[in-house]
Symmetry: C2
Subunit: 244 residues, 2 copies
């Protein structure tokens, strides 16, 4: 049986997150509904990352077995785009190994978080965090450097679900894309739940001058969620790219 | 009694157009509801242009009488933004003459229409016309030049409401903003209903090579809506700026 992977984008605004659950609209649910319309049977999918409600994706990756042998990569892309709602779009499809699971095969995940410090733009209200205060990007960069490498990220996780709180952040880059628009790019192999948004929330405290950059190191070392700042809102966050 | 004008932006996606009407969500209705919450009485507003369902605005202008004398321009802006839904945003407020009516006082209206010829971008699905075929921008520019100046635009109007179909287009500029993103900027004193979208629909025929640029002149001279191409969809259109 052929197995396909797909890379797809979605606007997370109207979803209760990625992961399928009953009675609410989820990305996984809509994807599996589209596959069911195509194949007339329920097809189970596996994805690289579970994004929370309101979080977007440029390049989420999922994989599934295809019950019709003759379908090509192009057929899969076209059939899915014809059957998906307009806030999900498949960019490409490719054939993968029988055992390919994007969750475990991923070697790098890249998240993007956008913060606007300009006056509100109605067209961006669901796509950037409109923050309205000036941020010291240099101080944020220094603070972010303390988070790179392997650490126990207990201070930046949500809840108690994950047993092992140790993760490796390969790199955090903070760019001013244009006046008033900041991009925080975080690269790692895998992340704890809400970890990127919790990091952004604390970096913003540094950017405001409320915390010195070194405070981030202190928060990290305390290994307690109470030490870090609040969680940044979901609508600024994008699962940008997954690498294998 | 003080009279204020406001310049405001809105995302037209979830509105049944600008003009107030019963039982549906309109921009004028939401604006007057916000004013009612502020002033505890119904305030009648006049606007520079009536945009159709799905059409956006960067700089719509409306005017109204203010029953509380002491309120400043800043008070008006802040009170409105605190009481408006998140898809309308007031950029500025200023005091105007007792008789100021933005509809008649406007000397220039600038509309922007965005066409994407790239692959679908889910985040832009409500904000550009995703057209997917290459367009010959040079041919479109030549066609557009026939529309500049004073003409009978009967071929580009909607319905029979307007008595006088003569309008003056000051200028049409067509810009390639980046690969695959085209902006059509149309400037005039006033426009017939759906006129900009009907013009865009016909320019796209030229851009596809289905019509020669000179065909636009022929369509214009026939003064009949049947001659022109279909109407471009509303979600690519923005009332960009109104000048007085």
């Amino acid at each position: 049986m052929k197995r396909f992977a797909i890379e797809f984008a979605y606007d997370g605004t109207k979803f209760f997150g990625y992961q399928g659950q009953p009675n609410v609209r989820t990305v996984q649910g809509d994807l599996e509904d589209a596959l069911e319309r195509i194949f007339k049977e329920r097809i189970y999918t596996q994805a690289a990352g579970r994004t929370d409600a309101g979080v977007h994706a440029n390049g989420q990756v999922a994989a599934f077995n295809c019950p019709i042998e003759r379908l090509t990569e192009k057929d899969i892309k076209n059939a899915l785009n014809a059957n998906l709602p307009d806030d999900i779009y498949v960019k490409k499809a490719w054939i993968v190994d029988k055992n390919f699971n994007p969750r475990f095969a991923a070697t790098k995940r890249i998240y993007h978080y956008f913060i606007s410090t300009s006056e509100k733009d109605v067209f961006m209200r669901n796509y950037v965090w409109n923050f309205r205060y000036d941020l010291d990007v240099e101080a944020m960069r220094k603070a972010a450097s303390f988070l790179e490498g392997e650490h126990d990220f207990s201070s930046f996780k949500k809840g108690k679900d994950e047993k092992n709180p140790v993760r490796t952040i390969y790199r955090i880059r903070i760019l001013t894309l244009k006046k008033g628009l900041i991009l925080i790019r975080v690269e790692g192999r895998s992340f704890l739940r809400s970890m990127v948004r919790n990091i952004v929330g604390s970096l913003v405290r540094v950017g405001l001058g409320q915390w010195k950059p070194e405070k981030i190191l202190e928060v990290l070392e305390k290994r307690s969620r109470q030490e870090a700042a609040g969680t940044a809102p979901p609508h600024g966050l994008y699962l940008y790219k997954v690498l294998f």
